[in-house]
Amino acid sequence: AQSVTQPDIHITVSEGASLELRCNYSYGATPYLFWYVQSPGQGLQLLLKYFSGDTLVQGIKGFEAEFKRSQSSFNLRKPSVHWSDAAEYFCAHGGTGGFKTIFGAGTRLFVKA
């Protein structure tokens, strides 16, 4: 079955430190890939998306992600984390033919001063 795996349930980083959130997907063809962010009690906001082309995509709020087909990964990165980045992050993929977007379980990011 198609799936998205986010291996880290939660991550704590210091403010100003770099961040990498991991995401692996299982899908034979090139999927459409997304990262969403959710602040507590809020809806999901799209950070960035990958459809095709350049495998390094830039998003909002200084985030970027790199698609690596050989590793079936789409990891999210940020060079310097701000306290306001504390939230839950969801990786997702679509284009599975069933018109159903598959979400990972999410990674909760804590930022310490």
Binding site: F34, G41, L44, K49, A92, G95, F99, I102
Partner: protein, 116 residues
Amino acid sequence: EAGVTQSPTHLIKTRGQQATLRCSPISGHTSVYWYQQALGLGLQFLLWYDEGEERNRGNFPPRFSGRQFPNYSSELNVNALELEDSALYLCASSPGSSGRWTGELFFGEGSRLTVL
């Protein structure tokens, strides 16, 4: 351009009652999705409506139902409420299955349902 709007923001019900949640998609979007996000359980797919019809549903009992209106807005009904139905219910919209499907979803802010 208005985003996806959901109402009510918060809803408190007691066990056995019925809850109705509403969602208006982005203008031009014909697909509406409903997700349940209970504490610690991630996003659980509930229902997908497109062009007025239910196209897919997740692994939820029949007391979770809904519909999509001609203007593509949607409502989610939860009958015979149980305590474990307490959750954030998220609605999302997309351009629909007739165009290029990418899986990109546009989310509302959610409706928080509390069952006492």
